[in-house]
Amino acid sequence: MIFIYGILALSMNLLAGYTGLLSLCQAAFYGIGAYSTTLLMIKVGINFFPALVCGIFITSFISLFIAYPSLRLRGDYFILAAIGFQLIVFSILYNCVWLTRGPYGIPGIPRPSAFGFQFDSLPRYFLLGGFIFFLVLLFTRAILRSPFGRALKAIREDELTAGVMGKNVPALKIWAFVIGAGIASVSGALYAGYVTYIDPTSFTLDESIFIIAIVLVGGSGNLKGPIVGTFFMLILPEALRFLGLPVTIAPNVRQMIYGLLLILLMRYRPQGIAGEYRFE
């Protein structure tokens, strides 16, 4: 799960941390990735890995339809359009019963396998997740350290000046958005192969908000931030189990400690734990 959210955080960082796009529909792409990979495996019968690659292309392609009209709008409108898109994707997943089985979900998703090797046990899946996470990390690093990444940062800093300096602002934003969608779909595929059952409730607006929270807590604008954020948001709730609190109050106290930490973080380190860029 850490790697799955790690990948999601990387995709969000590309959008929020580098380009300044607060995209509230990352979970939609996460879901589209999960569903398209699953359906390709079950209905077409292809292996997990080619299905994952096809899933990336399908998700990126779908993201173009939302990116093209909405990224030509200014800031706030984009956020509204993204929320709208997130809700639409959820209702499609929920209501297209013939394709997605709607609220029943899709059970019995085969575990990934390659060359006769099954990633069926937890440690094996951990290795697979780690490997794919590492690949995605290298990919985002290459993209973000390139002149393209620099141009995205310029847009985040000052869109108007970037335009006057010859940067095609909408085109660059659309690229960032489409790449971000493709990356989110990778974690969708990993998620489907991991839990072997998917239903639409895993890909809601809440999930999108959680992804943004990871990046905001960990810090954005560099590559450390999302990784730190993922550890913090996923491991801390688990670690708090070991405090040895009485069973009756434990869950509530855990939530309280967690909430308190978030508030302290926002107060004393608004750019996130390892971030270089503060969201305004």
């Binding site: 290459a142 993209i143 390139s146 002149p147 393209f148 620099r150 141009a151 940062k153 310029a154 800093e157 000052d158 108007l160 000046t161 970037a162 335009g163 006057v164 300096m165 010859g166 940067k167 095609n168 602002v169 660059l172 690229w175 790449i179 270089e276 860029y277």
Partner: protein, 251 residues
């Protein structure tokens, strides 16, 4: 030879005609000053030329290409650069990154070529890096390459913004009040810099309130008031014009 031609350019904000049927021809090369009281429409005119505002009517030609109606980045790619009054450097980025960003048509700004034609991108970036170092040195900011732009003083940020313009290789530079907010010593080096740029064959159009500066470096001056061109000519003549003196200097 004209580098830019404005024909009947008009732009109104509500009932106010900020730029009112302005027709100007800017000759190629040299330094042209735009002067006039606050609210005369000088900055609006710059915004219209660089595509940040749409024209209500009129036409703008640059190098015989019609540029009104194009996007800011298309206009920049044709060779028109802009210095803002409030400089607008990318504050969180380093000085070097600011200048590196100036390169127009960098192949590395397309993610496809980043992934698939790595060598072309690396070569372009290497060349770009050399250029950027050269311009940072040219404006006298050597040693500050890796500092974030926000750590520079306002005057230095202005120099950085000029380095950015030079690195962009623009044929025409629009400078909005280059001497405002800069200390006298730095104004001097700034003027030297502008002369050097003009001598290198680039055309400069600048907005200025400091008349000493205008008299010192401008070859031509346009005087604007209430969105219209009132007077045009050599700096001495324009500043000696009665109408100009009444409208601007209050004498």
């Amino acid at each position: 030879m004209y580098i830019m031609k404005l024909h009947n350019v008009t732009r109104a904000f509500g009932g106010l005609r900020a730029v009112d049927e302005v027709s100007i021809e800017f000759s190629s090369g040299g330094i042209t000053g735009l002067i006039g009281p606050n609210g005369a429409g000088k900055t609006t005119l710059f915004n219209l030329i660089s595509g940040l505002l749409k024209l209500d009517c009129g036409e703008i030609y640059f190098d015989n290409i019609r540029v009104d109606g194009l996007t800011p980045w298309e206009i920049a790619k044709l060779g028109i650069g802009r210095l803002f009054q409030d400089v607008r450097v990318f504050k969180k980025l380093s000085v070097l990154d600011n200048v590196l960003l100036a390169k127009l048509q960098h192949p590395g700004e397309s993610p496809l070529s980043v992934l698939f034609s790595t060598r072309r991108v690396t070569n372009a970036e290497k060349e770009n890096l050399g250029e950027a170092h050269k311009w940072v040195k040219f404006v006298g900011l050597s040693g500050k390459e890796n500092s974030p732009a926000e750590s520079l003083s306002f005057g230095q940020q202005k120099l950085l913004a000029i380095a950015r313009l030079l690195a962009g290789g623009y044929k025409l530079l629009l400078l909005d009040e280059p001497s405002a907010g800069v200390n006298p010593a730095m104004i001097k080096s700034l003027l030297e810099l502008m002369k050097k740029i003009a001598d290198a064959g680039r055309t400069i159009i600048f907005i200025e309130h400091n008349m000493t500066v205008v008299l010192e470096i401008a070859n031509w001056v346009f005087f604007l008031n209430e969105g219209r061109v009132i007077s045009f000519g050599r700096p001495d003549d324009v500043l000696g014009n009665d109408e100009v003196r009444k409208a601007y200097l209050g004498v």
